[in-house]
């Protein structure tokens, strides 16, 4: 089955071939309820607890469109510079699969709500690339299967399968690019930059959690090659559900080198879906699309058409937030950054995060140093993108505020942030659980100071003799005794008082 592929050297790939990309991004909307029923739209939960007759597709149950989801779809369309359809419908996409309750997915087919737009994407060196957007359409998510007992975790070879329909009916927007051509060697980078820009945009709009690790943003990467200077697209493969920004780049690059090796060898590419392996950065074959699937689309008769009025669309346009790239321009001016400084900030992926942290009430300087230093370091050790860290700008701003108020020392603050990153909850909860509050109660400090002084009478003599810098040893001892929770400045003051 598995054939070991000789990969072509990347420089040679781009020498001989022009890559063509097509990116399909699925975004789960963070509406309160599901797409077609009143069930809560929540990630996780005990299996099959957020379900009702409609999202389970029980006989007789009917869908009703979630108005908030339509609103989000229109806003996303506008942010992507799309035209908004004055009239559109849902369609049924018919195919059998155990995790799909009705065995058809209610989606949009030839009548998407938004179409023909673009997104400007800034590459690492500052170059701006315009990616064409074919369409953005609404659909519902499926349930999840857990295949138990097989070697691969896939359905084939499994002993049995468990089905969880909590996710069934969660509202999705699928955003499809037009073919991205002419990127040459930069194609993988462009793919990552596009998904990053899309994610930042959606986050700024507050329409989705955009958590790739939780599947609320999923990318399918289509890759094909044509001989250098060619015009006819080659056969493409679709690498499904790539779940991090870094993986998007790696998957595209891997597929380019794999296709090139096969083509150069006189072989042909099979049109198929592929799975990306995080561990070694390779892809493996999934379903082969030898015959085109026939989804037998037809207009969904259970739903009335959607007709967003011009007035409503224009009103929604006014609700679009400051877009990430506009904000970057603004912060450059406000913070007086050189192009290079801004680019560094952008390249670490920190610019929007810093801006958001400032928006949440932190000082720009503090916010910058937290993201560029400690948090970047954390992202590196955890091998995730900065923005994929499990901490929000608001949480960072909270921690910065606590330091400023003297509730936390810098050292304690870092521990609090660690706790948040480890999933221990909000900063307050981490402080509570780990007992990280600064000891501001003088009586407790005095006890510790007195004990330290009693233990080192010689140092006390030195201080009394005028050697003030000797106090450092006592401060150190007190800090040690209070497990770092004392305010060093206050400790020093107390030492001086006691030694007079």
């Amino acid at each position: 089955m598995t054939t070991v592929v000789e990969l072509m050297d990347y420089a040679e790939v781009v020498e001989r071939f022009d890559p063509v990309l097509g990116l399909e991004v699925h975004v789960e909307l963070s509406t309160a309820t599901k797409m077609f029923c009143g069930c809560p739209n929540l990630f996780g939960g005990e299996p099959n607890t957020h379900v009702c007759p409609t999202c389970l597709g029980l006989p007789g149950a009917l869908p009703v469109v979630n108005g908030k989801a339509v609103e989000s779809a229109v806003r996303i369309g506008l942010a992507l510079n799309c035209a908004i359809a004055p009239w559109c419908r849902f369609a049924r996409k018919n195919y059998f699969y155990p995790d799909m309750p009705k065995n058809f997915q209610t989606s949009q087919y030839d009548e998407p709500i938004a179409f023909d737009g673009h997104l400007d994407v800034v590459l690492d060196d500052g170059e701006v690339v315009r990616i064409g957007i074919e369409r953005a359409h609404m659909e519902e998510d499926t349930g999840k299967s857990l295949h138990v007992g097989g070697a691969t975790g896939r359905i084939h070879g499994a002993e049995h399968s468990l089905l969880d329909y909590n996710r069934a009916g969660v509202p999705l927007i699928e955003i499809v690019t037009k073919p991205v051509t002419g990127m040459g060697a930069r194609a993988p980078e462009v793919a990552r930059a596009y998904v990053t820009a899309l994610r930042d945009l959606l986050r700024a709009m507050d329409v989705s959690d955009v958590r790739m690790d939780q599947g609320s943003l999923r990318c399918d990467a289509n890759v094909s090659l044509m001989p250098k200077g060619g015009t006819e697209f080659g056969t493409r493969t679709e690498t499904k559900n790539v779940n991090s920004l870094r993986s998007v780049e790696r998957a595209v690059r891997y597929e380019m080198t794999r296709h090139a090796a096969i083509l150069a060898d006189g072989g042909s590419i099979r049109q198929e879906t592929r799975h990306f392996q995080e561990a070694d950065g390779t892809t493996s074959a999934g379903r082969t699309k030898e015959t085109a699937e026939d989804y037998r689309y037809f207009p969904e008769p259970d739903l009335v058409p959607i007709a967003p009025s011009k007035e409503w669309v224009e009103q929604l346009r006014t609700t679009l937030p400051e877009l990430p790239w506009e904000r970057r321009k603004r912060i450059q001016q406000e913070w007086n950054l050189t192009d290079e400084e801004l680019r560094d900030l952008v390249n670490t992926g920190a610019a929007d995060l810093v801006a958001a942290t400032v928006d949440a009430g932190a000082e720009p300087g503090e916010a910058r140093s937290w993201w560029v230093q400690f948090l970047t370091q954390q992202a590196n050790t955890r091998e995730v993108e900065l923005a994929e860290l499990a901490i929000t700008p608001a949480q960072v701003a909270t921690v910065i505020g606590l330091v400023k108020q003297g509730e936390l020392t810098n050292k304690l603050a870092r521990e609090v942030v660690q706790g948040v990153l480890d999933g221990e909850g909000e900063p307050g909860e981490v402080i509570e659980r780990r007992g990280l509050k600064v000891v501001s109660d003088d009586s407790a400090l005095i006890t510790a100071v007195d004990e330290a002084l009693a233990a080192q009478p010689d140092v006390v003599e030195k201080i009394r003799g005028g050697k003030v810098q000797a106090a450092g040893a006592i401060v150190g001892a007190v800090m040690k005794a209070t497990k770092g929770q004392a305010d060093a400045k206050r400790v020093r003051e107390l030492i001086m008082e006691r030694c007079q």
Partner: protein, 508 residues
Amino acid sequence: MTDPTDLTKLSAAELAAKIHAREVTSAEVTRAHLDRIAAVDDHVHAFLHVDREGALAAAEAVDADLAAGRAPASPLAGVPLALKDVFTTKGIPTTCGSRTLEDWVPPYDATVTRRLREAGVVILGKTNMDEFAMGSSTENSAFGPTHNPWDHARIPGGSGGGSSASLAAFEAPLAIGTDTGGSIRQPGAVTGTVGVKPTYGGVSRYGLVAFSSSLDQGGPCARTVLDAALLHEVIGGHDPMDSTSIDAPVPPVVEAAREGARGDLSGMRIGVVSEFRGEGYQPGVLRSFEAAVDQLRALGAEVVEVSCPHFTYALPAYYLIAPSEASSNLARFDAMRYGLRVSDDGTHSAEEVMSLTREAGFGPEVKRRIMLGTYALSSGYYDAYYGSAQQVRTLIIRDFDAAFEQVDVLVSPTTPTTAFKIGERVDDPLAMYLADLCTIPSDLAGNAALSVPCGLSDEDGLPVGLQVMAPALADDRLYKVAAAYEGARDATAGSLVHQVPELNGAAR
């Protein structure tokens, strides 16, 4: 003490009046019907499930309310009803006449079910039907056919044969049906009862197990026009759970039925659809129909001939659209979540379990339509079949629009023939499909239509139906015309339904 056999012969309006005046209890009325079911249903087989305990409990609750001096929850509070087994009923099996759902007990009530319960209507049980409402004879029920009370060797119409037969057999004074291509009106016609297909969207489809979503419409079945109107007002009206439900008040159908009963149709313009007479129609049916038209004229209506040229194409268009939607709607019956599951022995893949279950669970007519629909929707054929059918649908709507510019309502025979014999058309699906020839255009157009008994065919002594069709949201016109006609006909020939031959079982 009232004689219980009398109670089953009364209309719903009469029963309600007696119950609300506390001359008789709802429990007595309910028990009388349950006893009648026990006595005759072996012969009729109108019911798939009788909920004796639930019905009596509901009846007693109504009685307790009335005894406490509270006003009845609705004009039909305390009256029993037979519910087509296509509506979900919490805690009561809902099979749709299929092996696939043989043991399925829904966890929720359809909106129609809920409205009936809230109105104090007593649900006696679930009635037999063609599997998933596909058929014109109730022979496609996986649980055996229903027999026409007029002649046990004949079909009671379909797919709502159980509902209409229960009325003609005096097992229930009221019933609910669903009409996709005529499944309320056609059984009404061949059993001598009243059946109404309200305007599409006039009665919620939530909890109605879907056959063809753009056509399915629940509606009332009764022995009198007034009873149907009373039931229409209980089940009709906007439902936020159904996106296609019309957000408008229910037309004043009860008022219209009472107005019509005064017997004056002057000022009313009635069109006779010229396409629905002549070749292929049983002469006795046409003679009854012509007599009905004369009667309408005598009531003061102006009668004109109207042509709807595209009605000829309604049947083929219907047999592309309905199966297309059905093929998709029925995809959910895959053994994964509820209902029948076969071959789950660990040696079969998920796909095989799905396929083998569907093979075992569906009858031949359902399979035929799934195949038809799958083919009609498949890429390469979509435009030729489904697409063309939708275009024909638009032409039919235009025919109606043009006709309703000239007249207030249209009339035709409800069915081309009287009830045929059980087994007669089983092997000839195309002949079977002709039974819905006259009813299908109103379904495709989504407007309102009704069938009211118009005498017995002089050839075979079997009931004939008069179909009245009205524009969308003008359901009240149907009731006015039908009530006027019903009153005049009963005055000259006596109530049709009381001429049902005594059932063999009744003597037991």
